[in-house]
Symmetry: C2
Subunit: 469 residues, 2 copies
């Protein structure tokens, strides 16, 4: 059993930590983007790895829970603890330094509190790119992005957050510091603890800094928005594009017409420049080596797709501004979704070849719950769909609270039935603990519990996230 | 304490396993490529995951050690147990099926005993490639390659073995089966157990099958061998190449003149087609999208390098046969090394920008031990050098047995001093257990021990490998 973090407990730390560590928790520490949870706890905002270690040593000894907090943008409640003994909310926001950039090594070293957009900018300033890219990049922080193994738009080519990381500095549950901040591209000395800490959502250790991989900037990039005859045609188009340009396909995003229609309904500006609005479309980005014009490569892909009956219409951006306008459609859909208000949102993945069947069967299965609208879009190249279910036009999501559990069950059962995942990129947090228990392999769960007990025997790290406390 | 595997113990298994499981251990199970260790134990060769589970349940209950055995090509003695209570040698060689190929998903599912070259061939037959490539690919097996997180020639672009894997089937120390054989590109449901099992060298579980990523075949590939002025010039050339073609650089291998000289000395055929033989040279391979001729891209890179004084001579392959002849130089060097016989071989990595200083300081530091020859070559793009130390011409390695520990210490201390690794791609096995204790972060080691105890409380899995028993 854990003890609550009390003012008296914090007072025992005042002799060991600067006064600036002790702050009032604000709404940004207690709320999360979807408004499903309200957190509790007392805030500590350390400014160094040693200070994090001091806090964890005290919490370990006193059996006080610790909820690590980055940018607070997580969508599954991993950053807010609603129930149980009040925890220390451990904000990493003050540890936001970019410690070093090594352009000749393609490495950047950033602290956990560094904001993703600032890491991207530092990479750009060094003539490199940091490929991780997602909607919340203006406020999401590196520690949280790694702890949740964030995905986003460029996973197809560059992998998820785990694939971007070379080394970690981590404070353990006992308050010891693992100095694993290596800049090595290859190191086979012992267990893959880096990749275990990444994606553990702060339940096995607190990430305080990371050495991250940078990528060379492609010599030229190009973007196209192509109508496709069906989700199956979209998959065939992806295969066709990869036959031609290999893994130089940087992004391959599927959108159903519902997304652009929601943009209009929500009063947002972004528009699809195709008339009529297709039922299905894909946004393709290529990043190419020197000597190729992306417009030419995209035109060749479109012509081949036309010939095969995969696509009949499309637009290839001829300027950076046009490319940004096409991307704006995709990137504004989450805001449109937020304004319209979903009954239930899902972040599922299935094996790539099952995507069309999943989409077809999802629509049929949901007829059981009555009239709803489905906005299905996402990272097709990764088999990852954001499959979100909305009320009919003019109705409010709150009228549908009673069907939410059934909607979620239908969608998750279907994804699981295809060998899929009920959390492709958002993680488990607190929202999906039951889903993990329902769908997770029991042997995997028992190994997870054994590792949790081994590394955090008092169970202080992010209690109730990922695994039930 | 473990109990020995005795004929009587095996007899208790005969009722539960087919007769074909029980075989005589041969030299291939008891010896390893460098002849440093001779194994012991009784062989079991199961033919299914269930049979592996049956064996592990019995070994767990009887506290009998299990040494998993794949192709037996490991270079650090992870596959042979010389001392202690005789273990069961668990050969996965009979489980060599390719269970499925999914070209439209870029996925192949192979059992642990499948030989790498056969997985490569199955991918090729499906119009795809499996990028993992290394000298022992004709005999190394998938289970061992994953357990050791093997590296090889294409890590620069495609990553090491861990980066090639989507899902695993694993039998735990207790003989339970984790059905984690997912074909998903994204799945954030719980801890990264896949990446923990990969690289654990059979000490945390026995990998029985894997779902592996395939890559699109580049539309065109090209190879060049370029003289470079120095290791620093080689790094600058890599940066120049990546500025032009991004991550379409598939391989970037550094070779010192000693390697090609060893080819002659050892009576091997491969030859460098440059006269005079350069002191330093790099082998570059590009894999390019449609619309580019690799010879043109390589010529442009060479001209830019010439202009910057990085390179003065080189050859660009104009046919597949020429490309293979260039690759033969690089790939035959390990055989030349074997014939000449090293005093000590090292598989180190350092941060990329430290490679030139490591090479310069290594040569100076080794003067302490008297006259030796250094064959330094390897995966420069990964910061990974095979830095091997040989006797002067005409002398035998056995005369130098007494200096081997000091040579190793000099090289490893130097790599460690640069923030490097003493095992970049070969793993720890039994050879480098002491190195891990000497150079490894103590907090990392204590987390590793905690995880080992949690997942294998009786310590039966590959006893004495990675961690001291």
């Amino acid at each position: 059993m854990l003890n609550p973090a009390t003012p008296a407990f914090l007072d025992t730390l005042r002799a060991h930590l600067p006064a600036a560590t002790f702050r009032e928790a604000g709404p940004e520490h207690l709320q999360e983007p979807r408004g499903r949870y309200t957190g509790q706890g007392l805030l500590l905002a350390p400014n160094s790895t040693e200070e994090v270690a001091t806090i964890l040593r005290a919490c370990h000894a006193a059996r006080v829970g610790v909820v690590p907090h980055g940018g607070g943008t997580g969508l599954v409640g991993g950053q807010v603890m609603q129930d149980g003994a009040a925890p220390v909310i451990l904000s990493l926001a003050r540890m936001d330094a970019i410690r070093a950039v090594h352009p000749s090594e393609n490495v950047i070293v950033a602290e956990a509190g560094a904001i993703l957009a600032e890491v991207q900018a530092a990479a750009r300033d060094a003539g490199r790119m940091f490929p991780l890219s997602l909607a919340s990049e203006g406020s999401a922080r590196i520690g949280g992005l790694l702890s949740t193994n964030a995905g986003g738009l460029n996973v197809l080519r560059y992998g998820n957050a785990r694939a971007q990381c070379l080394g970690l500095e981590v404070v353990t549950a006992q308050g010891e510091i693992w100095h694993g901040l290596t800049r090595l591209y290859k190191d086979n000395t012992g267990y893959g603890l880096r990749d275990l800490m990444i994606g553990a959502e702060g339940t096995l250790g607190v990430i305080t800094a990371a050495a991250l991989k940078l990528a060379p900037v492609p010599a030229a990039s190009g973007t196209a928005l192509l109508q496709v005859a069906s989700p199956r045609a979209a998959l065939d188009l992806l295969a066709l594009a990869r036959d031609r340009v290999g893994d130089n396909v940087t992004a391959f995003e599927l959108m159903h017409r519902q997304g652009p229609e929601f943009l209009i309904e929500a009063g947002l500006d972004a528009r699809v420049p195709l008339d009529p609005l297709p039922e299905w479309m894909v946004l393709i980005e290529l990043g190419l080596p020197e000597g190729l014009r992306p417009e030419d490569s995209l035109a060749a892909i479109f012509e081949a797709a036309l010939e095969k009956g995969l696509s009949e219409d499309g637009v290839i951006a001829s300027s950076e501004a046009q490319a940004q306008a096409l991307w704006a459609v995709r990137e504004t859909i989450p805001e449109a979704n937020r304004r319209i208000g979903s009954i239930s949102s899902h972040d599922i993945s299935v094996p790539l070849s099952s995507v069309p069947d999943f989409i077809a069967q999802g629509g049929s299965a949901l007829q059981e719950v009555g009239e709803v609208r489905i906005n299905c879009f996402g990272h097709l190249g990764d088999g990852n769909l954001h499959y979100n279910v909305f009320p009919p036009k003019g109705r409010d999501r709150r009228e549908f609270d009673d069907i939410r559990p059934r909607v979620k069950e239908i969608v998750h059962d279907l994804a699981h039935g295809f060998g899929g995942s009920v959390s492709a990129e958002h993680g488990i947090g607190r929202l999906k603990v039951g889903d993990l228990e329902r769908y997770g392999d029991p042997v995997k769960l028992s190994m997870m519990r054994a590792i949790k007990s081994a590394l955090d025997p008092n169970g202080i790290l992010n209690p109730g996230a990922v695994l039930r406390g």
